[in-house]
Symmetry: C2
Subunit: 329 residues, 2 copies
């Protein structure tokens, strides 16, 4: 059995560096339980001053549903239909004040065509399934519907080609958490500027996600690619992927309420002589960071469409850069 938890006899060893949760600082020393942070609060973002129709496809999935809920909370006009990548799911789900009718793939062209007529300034968000990525993107492009693609998988090259050929607007990103995107961008820049700077360093990577996630974290792969450029050798088979809820609770310290939806990543680098170590972690509980990022992406794309921007394909770096350039000081 895969187990990285030290034997129970070693638990008398002290806890190294305080972990998750806020510390009181020197003036008010305080230790907050690592495994039980304060429950995540609903983000209290005020309704946006700009509103537009938003169609969220994949509302039957956790991620799509979270995005639809965030859209409603932020005052966007939720289009009352959505399609699923699975047939035979016809039903209605309620999000905020809106009853959303769910359709299977066979009806999507009719449904989306009527949406395009009724809501000419709609932004589509796609969180369906890997098998639908390319066919959905082609449909959006055919109908000229700008879309945010949050679904991972499919043929990436074909996805970009569909958008380019149609001159449609799209924002494509497998990672919608803006701060995670900023972190990965920083790692990429470090790798570009200082290739080989960590030559000879030893890398260990651990990632923990809800048991339903079968594939390896794409973000971990992106970060590892940076470390490889920095001179670190790494065999992807060595990555420790934790999917067992018990291990997540006891070893990783995932709060119990987020066992079904979390993304924890740890990268540990050690110098060849073991005298120096670096560690990077990005730990996400729940889906609010992604849902909020997706709404930000949709709003960004809406602005680009309205201003008829000459650039047509965007990613989250563009969103971050535009949002943050106003905050520069």
């Amino acid at each position: 059995m895969l187990s990285m938890r030290p034997p129970s006899t070693t638990l008398s060893r002290p806890l190294i560096w305080p972990r998750r949760g806020r510390l009181g600082g020197a003036a008010a020393p305080q230790y907050v339980s690592a495994a039980a942070p304060a429950p995540a609060l609903e983000p209290a973002a005020p309704p946006e001053s700009v509103s537009f129709p938003i169609l969220v496809n994949g509302c039957t999935g956790n991620m799509g549903l979270s995005v639809a809920e965030a859209a409603a909370l932020r005052g966007l006009h939720l289009v009352p239909v959505s399609f699923s990548s699975r047939e035979k799911v016809e039903k209605t789900i309620q999000v905020g004040q809106t009853d959303i009718q769910i359709y299977g793939p066979s009806k999507r062209e009719d449904v989306v065509s009527s949406i395009a007529d009724e809501f000419p300034d709609v932004i589509v968000v796609d969180y369906t399934g890997p098998n639908s990525v390319n066919s959905n993107a082609e449909l959006y492009c055919k109908l000229g519907l700008p879309f945010v693609m949050g679904t991972t998988g499919g043929n990436k090259h074909l996805l970009y080609k569909s958008v380019q050929d149609s001159k449609n607007y799209a924002l494509i990103s497998p990672q919608m958490g803006k701060q995670v995107v900023a972190f990965v961008a920083a790692m990429k820049i470090m790798a570009e500027q200082f290739p080989g700077a960590f030559s000879g360093y030893h890398l260990e990577v651990l990632e923990s996600h809800q048991a339903g996630k079968l594939d390896t974290s794409g973000t971990a792969k992106d970060v590892i690619a940076c470390f490889e450029k920095l001179g670190v050798s790494y065999d992807m088979n060595r990555m420790v992927k934790i999917r067992d809820p018990e291990q997540q609770l006891e070893m990783v310290g995932v709060p119990e309420e987020h066992i079904q939806g979390h993304a924890f990543h740890l990268y540990h680098l050690t110098s060849p002589d073991d005298s120096v170590s670096f560690e990077f972690q990005h730990n996400v509980c729940g889906r609010s960071i992604y849902a909020e990022g997706t709404i930000d992406a949709a709003m960004f794309l809406h602005r680009k469409v309205q201003s008829k921007d000459s650039k047509r394909i965007y990613n989250m770096d563009d969103v971050l850069r535009e949002e943050t350039c106003h905050k520069a000081y």
Copy 2:
């Protein structure tokens, strides 16, 4: 008493994420004690093909001595004199095969003048004391001796002005650990590219150094400045500075043999709703990373002097960039 160690009753709480030390990976799960990594090995760098005379001032201090030892190991020609920032230290210390005569400040001008005559291609390295930074730099500049300034403190503006006015060559860096420099550079770039991206995040910083270090970590200050630009509010008084050896052993996990020389840093960021956290650590045991970086800096500066480069003042980013651009792929 400042204590961040959780009460002993909480030690039955599991260890969160494996810490320092290498893990065996999924195929060979293994837990290595956090507090007792393999002892640091002497770096096995081969003697350099290029050699030149190197004068290390401040050899009576731990850092200066480490640099002199690294210089000898890497085949550089150690000039057999050194001066200390303290008077009344006349003595001889042996480094490798070289007996180094130590002089107090009052004799430094005579000593350095004769060195300049005898070793025209010498590179000076300075690890004296904060009070000597400016007067030493002025002396090196007056005599046209290229120098690497590893000593922190003094008047930074005046230091740069001395070099500029004299057109001397100098490499000035308060941080000589190349990988730490790369990490800080990445944080700076992230802050420049995405100012405000972590707006509302809560920051906790802990740093642990040997008890003899009285001031706050300059590297921590640099990294915090980046987080502030990223939108995080931080009161420097909240930084947890650990100087007590017992806490370092039990709470921070510093190996016992490095209590007298280590630099551990931890930055923990939490999103406003507590659902997302980031953590960055850079932990250095001993001084070998700095000593090796200083020798790399001296070799870099020697090349610049030999090639009569038009640029005269450098930092460790320049060293890293030049070294790593050859490794780019």
